[in-house]
Symmetry: D2
Subunit: 221 residues, 4 copies
């Protein structure tokens, strides 16, 4: 079994991105019998999905876990849904700032994660990692990649999804004003490995949505 993990290059003026700092440490590892391969995605609307497509083609993974940075979030934030819109609050790494453009023209409005998000969140919390389900992945390149990933794999039996991760402490330290939440790379790496174990077990047991855990992790608004 092969699992593709993607992380992003730094963006927004940063010199590191926690999603890549952790992803690059995972390359080649074996988790519960599954081999990890990693790829870095550009934070560029016009290139991210091309690089992703090449990685999917080259590695033919059985599962994909995409990671991205979320300033201010405090936990391993497992995204539920990707939406078919790009509305960039800041320019991407090549200066593009699309407004209300679809990720995929004429694509469906949204895709849900096909990962066992409730099992993952439950296991992470039980093992001491702050984790939660997020109802929005935003409208920037992270959401674009998540949507593009689900679109590319729709109907192919490859489980995939997206997780937003907190800033690294060194990033939070460099911000002026009020500090933002952070998570050490060590903690984050252990959390990702915990999530991957849940994913592998889930796939071995059938891998259907109906097999996800039934625990409420919703939002009233």
């Amino acid at each position: 079994m092969k699992i593709l993990i993607t992380g992003f290059e730094p963006f927004g003026g940063e010199t590191v991105n926690p999603s890549w700092e952790v992803a690059k440490q995972l390359d080649g590892l074996i988790v519960s019998g599954a081999q990890l391969v990693v790829v870095q995605l550009p934070c560029v609307f016009s290139k991210s999905l091309q690089v992703l497509a090449q990685a999917l083609d080259a590695h033919q993974p059985h599962m994909v876990l995409s990671l991205g940075q979320a300033d201010g979030r405090s936990d391993f934030s497992i995204e539920r849904v990707a939406i078919n819109v790009c509305d960039a609050r800041i320019p991407d790494n090549e200066g593009a700032q699309p407004i209300d453009e679809p990720v995929v023209a004429h694509g469906p409005a949204a895709y849900f994660s096909s990962l066992p998000i409730k099992k993952m969140a439950t296991a992470l919390k039980a093992q001491g990692f702050p984790a939660a389900i997020s109802q929005t992945a935003g409208t920037f390149v992270c959401n674009q990649v998540f949507y593009g990933l689900q679109h590319a794999l729709a109907g192919k039996g490859v489980l995939s999804g997206f997780v937003h991760v907190p800033l690294m402490p060194i990033q939070a330290a460099m911000r002026s004003g009020a500090s933002l939440a952070s998570m050490s790379t060590e903690t984050l790496k252990a959390a990702v490995l915990c999530a991957l174990e849940v994913m592998v077990l889930h796939l071995q047991q059938g891998g259907t949505d109906a097999q996800d855990a039934k625990v409420q992790m919703g939002a009233t608004h």
Copy 2:
């Protein structure tokens, strides 16, 4: 032209709901030539969409604006997208607490608002009302109604959408601990009227998504 406005009954132990407190003041008003009709929806998963369907059938509106309460939000929060899932963090008013059930079995993953959300947010801010685009309407009855509304009207040329509104001051005052943001009913009513004027003008000018304003109001995550 007729516009249906819906508000919710109180829930979560409250005795008032700002969405209904403002909606009931609008019944019968004429805004830019459009007649307003209002209906209260139950905060009950098993009944809300029935009451909504009856209202749509009875009034045959040209546009629909659904309002709902969002504890802690500080602005006129215009929802971009409704998703096909109910994941109730708290029980509804009849004690039901569905977990990861679809709003509509086999329905699409999501529907976008067909209101001119960027025009609305821009006009509201220009006229002094705190307003923003929200990328998630949550997974409770508000999202269910929003999804059900868009599903019912899909392809029928009736523009519709959802707005979350802050608590009333009296509600915020009754919470223990840290105060939550609130908005007076007077301010909220004026904001709704401002939004309705934008909606009417938009419909008169063609009412297509392509005619919405191109201003970024996205989220990086």
Copy 3:
């Protein structure tokens, strides 16, 4: 009985300040038999306490309520304590930005409010106004005025204190990005009048700290 109310001029690039917008509406009013007089203070470290001293001298008030703007706070935020330090995060209206300078050289480290802050918060909440006790007035001109006020009146039997108030809706509307909480001037005015009634009654009943309400409104940190 005479009560002096102070509000601030706009600062930080704003054109209005809610503390003054409400204060100026109160001038000359009689509340529970007490006459209100109001004065605007400059948001200037080198001038604010001079203007305050002149107002105290001119009006010889029996009580003083100083008001100031607090971006992001959502309630009528009654300050408990003023500290003897100026540490300006932003320049004042004349460009001064003192760092760790005392308000009053060799003054005590802090002064507590001599207003019945718990009675005020309790009455406000009971009457439907979001209110809370705040454990810090910051280190900008608001805190400077609060400290200077308490220092000037120490031992003179004149009750005095400070309340931070939310932005006006029009201010919150003009900020880009995430909206901040706001409170309408109508709501704020009614809240101030409610607080003043409590203050007058408290003074009539003796006006000692020991007579304040014993309800917990503390913070764990």
Copy 4:
């Protein structure tokens, strides 16, 4: 040179307290030539200052750094000021919940930290640790200990202060609902050691307030 470090026992239903988890790892270490001794304080209003007094008497430290847990804070939060009031939002570990009682009867309203708080925050941020100055230590046992500490050492030439630290990841993971910020014990330990180095150097160079760094870290409110 000897430095006393205090941490708290768990409270509020928790089984661990990050302030103690890190403090206990520091016992006996030598930092920049200074020997560290640690003591655990009870989270009990009626006992905390007795245990502190015994520790001060037994160890006769040259400096004291007290640590406490702050749910929701995201950084190494260096307290500026302790105030002479106990107003307990929750009961302490023996069920006491004092309201508006002084820490020390007839004591001054407040004490400032005598640690080089700006030097500490600046060095921590430069070395990649999220850090900030806090303008309030709350009104619970942490503030009581901070006030009692400063009162006990006033005029004795022993530098002392208080730092609030984030939850441990395992604590944040156990909370339901929205996750709170956390910091790994490894990161926190390294941050404490960094702060201690700054403290030692500061004392060696004279240890006066006037020698602290002049950088703004204030709050507008």
